[in-house]
């Protein structure tokens, strides 16, 4: 539960030696004693790191928190876990809280993996007997069988993170708070973590999940909030991700003043109407305007399609300028290209980048990203990228009985 929470931070340095504090104190006493307020004192560099944020999470629900760096995501988690106290508002968590804020925070390099597991478990609120009982499962989960009696300072960072998550994964919390921890560990381990979180969810654990991996957020959460110190968007996860991706803070590269500028682009359907979300395979058209600033020859028009949630390249291609009758352009030429394509894609958010690429020098002449943004809506896939138009038929096999292979005798 998070009700209208505000958190004030101060930029710059605190006085943390007595040398600084004595002049500061005398100054304060000479002036009229000013009561401590929860108002912002901008002259002293105060700012709101978290401004009027509210949300609540029910058991069995996963709330995703997304936003750019420095948007207050981790601060929100620290307020939730009582590490920080809100300047205004109220934050309340009912039940046992497991926090995966930095999995290896409690580790001490000179202790062995096993000793650290006991300590870390205790820090996370487990009873010693409980940890002892779970120890084998923890070792198994972390995949550190032979290293549990080695000092943690000899571990690789991936091993430390794995041990940390393995301990946390064997907590029995009512509320789990997860901050950007799944980015460590190899693919197989990440897979295991996602699996574990789904189990927690099924068990009715309320979770708050902070990540920059929007793909993981969209797979795990039903609802999300997009914060930029204040809440910029909240609601169903796909909508919030779309809002985040569409916000100005996400990468916008538009190289201007280059030999060939990509001026603007318009994404429409076949009839010319603008689109936001379409079904897989819907014919789309991207109309792009270019202007040449310098005479240029031997280049191509690039068309790159990304899945926005993880910036994975779905398609990277284009056309040679000569193919569309523009083998040479001179300064001041303006021209328009219409790209037509069918996105046979699974549900999610996608965006297109358009660029002009000079073949001999292997360099960009101009680039616009995102040139077009769209979502795909369908309900058939669980995850994945491509819509492969899967179909399936069934037919009765009346002769199935007679075709069963009978093992020859003598085996």
């Amino acid at each position: 539960m998070f009700e209208h929470v505000w958190k004030k931070f101060r930029r710059g340095e605190y006085d943390d030696s007595l040398r600084d504090v004595i002049p500061a104190l005398t100054k304060r006493m000479l002036r009229r004693a000013r009561p401590r307020t929860d108002e912002l004192n901008e002259a002293q560099g105060d700012f709101w790191a978290v401004r009027d944020v509210s949300f609540s999470v029910c058991p069995g629900e996963v709330l995703g928190i997304i936003g750019p760096n420095g948007a207050g995501k981790s601060t929100i988690l620290k307020l939730l876990t009582k590490i920080l106290k809100p300047t205004r508002g109220r934050s309340e968590v009912r039940g046992r809280v497991g926090a995966l804020i930095e999995v290896a925070a409690g580790f001490h390099g000179d202790l062995t993996g096993r000793e650290n597991a006991f300590l870390q478990g205790a820090i996370m609120g487990m009873k010693r007997a409980e940890i002892a009982r779970q120890m084998d499962a923890i070792i198994e989960f972390a995949g550190l069988g032979d290293f549990m009696d080695t000092q943690v300072k000899r571990y690789s960072s991936g091993m430390q993170a794995r041990l940390g998550f393995a301990i946390a994964a064997h907590l029995d919390p009512d509320v789990l708070i997860i901050d950007e921890v799944l980015s460590v560990g190899d693919m197989a381990f990440q897979e295991r973590c996602m699996e574990r979180m789904k189990q927690f969810k099924a068990r009715g654990v309320a979770m708050v999940f902070v990540s920059h991996n929007l793909q993981q957020v969209s797979m795990l959460c039903e609802r999300a909030i997009f914060v930029q110190n204040a809440v910029s968007a909240h609601g169903p996860v796909q909508d919030v991700i779309a809002a985040y991706l569409g916000s100005a803070t996400t990468r916008h590269t538009n190289v201007t003043g280059s030999p060939i500028d990509v001026l603007e682009a318009r994404l429409t359907d076949a009839s010319g109407a603008p689109v936001t979300t379409v079904a897989p395979g819907t014919p789309l058209r991207l109309g792009v305007d270019y202007v040449a600033r310098e005479p240029t020859t031997d280049f191509h028009f690039g068309f790159v399609l990304y899945r926005s949630t993880d910036n994975g390249v779905v398609y990277d291609g284009g056309v040679q300028a000569s193919e569309v009758g523009l083998s040479t352009v001179s300064a001041g030429d303006r021209f328009h290209l219409d790209f037509e394509f069918r996105p046979h894609l699974a549900r999610g958010q996608y965006h297109v980048e358009c660029h002009v690429f000079h073949n001999p020098s292997q360099s960009y002449l101009g680039r616009l990203a995102p040139a077009g943004v769209f979502g795909i809506a369908e309900t058939r896939t669980y995850q994945g990228v491509a819509d492969i138009e899967l179909s399936c038929t069934s037919a009765a096999r009346p002769d199935a009985e007679s075709q069963r292979v009978v093992p020859a005798s003598g085996w």
């Binding site: 876990t81 009582k82 804020i101 930095e102 925070a105 001490h108 000793e115 609120g125």
Partner: protein, 270 residues
Amino acid sequence: MPHTLSRLGSDLREIAQEQIEYHELLASIVRRDLLLRYKQTVMGFGWAIFMPVLNTIIFSVIFTRVTRLDTGVPYPIFAFAGLLPWNFFSSSLSFALGSLTGNSSLVTKVYFPRELFPISAVVVSLFDFLVAFTVLIAMMVYYRIGVTWAVLFLPVILLVQIAFTIGIALLLSMANLFYRDVKYLFSVVITVWMFATSVVYPIDRVGGRLAAILSLNPMTPIIDGYRAVLLHGTLPALRPFAAATVLSFVILAIGMLAFHRMEFAFAERI
């Protein structure tokens, strides 16, 4: 006023609840600190004995060869009986001092009562104290000092000392978190404090106005108390010891409350 009282009450209840809820964690942190101490050092528990023994030898040379000091009991055992509890006090404080700043990764990342760090520092030093106590017993046997029923009062003295030490440890560790100068100030203050306590000489030899100031120091009745019950077989002098007891528990309460109320600022200021 009623508001202040009710807030005090709810704070005390919270403190008590947290101590009960997290007692296993305290045990784990103590275990960690002990493990670390005896893993990284060759002599392990030997260090607990070495320091007070070395100091006893030094002061015995000074006060028996250089100048004679009449203490009623053989000087070495007089000094050791003072240095042993003093060492417990001063090493608790110096461990506690850095206990919050040294665990900054935990303080800023995970929530649990932060009192556990300075308290654990005191408990770890208590282990050293108990180990070194065996040397005191050996010395008592050597000097043929018999024990009387007064020795039953020993746990009370130890309890008062622990209360006082934890109170000071909480305040110091917190102060050091906010102002790192405290660390340097501490090393000066603790040396002066030792000579202002009857650790290596009986403080009642000091007279005049200075004596009045020194009598405010609760460590003197505590250390004199150890000597009374162990070496002299009598109870500690009633009035100074009672005063020290009250003061110790007042300091403990102030330390606990102040710590509890400032805790929220730790993660921001560390």
